[in-house]
Symmetry: C2
Subunit: 211 residues, 2 copies
DNA sequence: TGTACATCAGTGAACGCGCGTTCACTGATGTAC
DNA sequence: TGTACATCAGTGAACGCGCGTTCACTGATGTAC
């Protein structure tokens, strides 16, 4: 068993992990232009600086690489949600806080959020299915969060429907953030707050108007 | 000048138009699996039953073909909107009527709506830009429609924000319709009605809660 | 109406290119003793 | 600690394939007179 290593060098598995990381980063960056589907194994290898066949030491195919990217992108998304919940903000601050956190996280993890938004209706059936499954899971979680707001007159199915509405609206906001110049930042946040507030006001006043 | 033609035959330009139509249809159908970006000129030509080079008699590139498909897909989308407006339905029927019409049109023009939904974040930058521009136009139109509802306390910018919320929610509903089995039809429509109603109730009660 | 010429949708051969994948390999790192 | 062997991340040549695009062509349709 090897415990120490010669100064300034890495173990074999550290080197391997570094190459793997470089492949993931290259794929995130290159696919921003073409989508994952328009990405070739050879392009990725070239960007990383290895020979094409070295790719196979890390992933069996571009699709498998895509699945790894789905996983780590949703880690970023879940980190964002944890950040929204943190401090358990009172109702009147939820909208402002959520939009702040969304904006911060989308900007800090551009590549991950862009990847999710793009591959949600992207070219690879396998990756698309993985993204949608993650979103389905996420919508269910958000629905249980919503149940804590003052809308106990909502059935759990309706909470899920509401959750989906919020998710698709916030995906659209994230896309806007990603493709707009920085100077539109405040305008986009203002619009996002309006949308969220409309949904929440609508939800709170819903049943009373319905029957 | 040729006025009559021999029985059972077509003019040269009729034949050409028929091939063009076949190319558009083949592209719509083939791209359902791979996206427009994953489509090759040779695949399309093979499906149509012409030699690859014949493609160039009709389009200079797959991108140009894509732009033609964006145009005709939005013709379908505008036909849907005209259908919603027809009869100038009273406020309490707007939600039901809109969801009925959306469901009917998406099912009748599956390929067009699937194309729009997919290429909105698809692989070709040119086509993506065209789709987004059409949506931007459409959102502005919807905003002026909304101004006729009892929400005169809304600024025109806020009406636009509201319009965008409705559009992204309805795109998501259209995607659900397209990828779900027929037996979920009523459930999807019910969920769509809930979402639209939440947005409208929220919009009507908005300003009062805000200040 | 009949003839001579122009147009042009579609053909078919050919090209160079980037692709994914196979295979045998190298040589530094790791392990057993 | 030193030696002999195993592992395995990355190499490099080679393959067959589908791709977009070029070019000269064919022959039915259209036009002028």
């Amino acid at each position: 068993m090897r415990v120490e290593s010669s100064a300034g060098s890495e173990t074999r598995s550290e080197r391997k992990e570094r190459t793997r990381r470089a492949i993931l980063d290259a794929a995130l960056s290159l696919s921003e232009e073409t989508g994952l589907g328009g990405l070739s194994l050879r392009q990725v290898a070239k960007e990383v600086g290895v020979v094409p066949t070295a790719f196979y030491r890390h992933f069996a195919s571009i699709d498998e690489l895509g699945l790894a990217l789905v996983e780590e992108s949703f880690v970023s998304l879940r980190a964002m949600i944890r950040d929204v919940r943190r401090g358990n903000p009172p109702l009147e601050e939820i909208v402002d806080r959520s939009v702040e956190v969304l904006d911060d996280h989308v900007r800090a993890q551009r590549a991950h959020f862009a990847f999710i938004a793009r591959e949600r209706s992207g070219g690879s059936a396998v990756v698309r299915a993985a993204v949608r499954q993650e979103f389905a899971l996420f919508e269910r979680e958000l629905a249980t969060d919503l149940a804590r707001l003052p809308m106990d007159h909502w059935s759990s199915e309706d909470l899920h429907v509401l959750s989906r509405l919020i998710v698709v609206a916030m995906i659209a906001v994230a896309e806007e953030i990603l493709e707009s110049p920085d100077r539109e930042r405040d305008a986009i946040k203002r619009r996002a707050r309006t949308q969220l507030l409309v949904v929440i006001v609508g939800a709170v006043n819903w049943r009373s108007e319905r029957e």
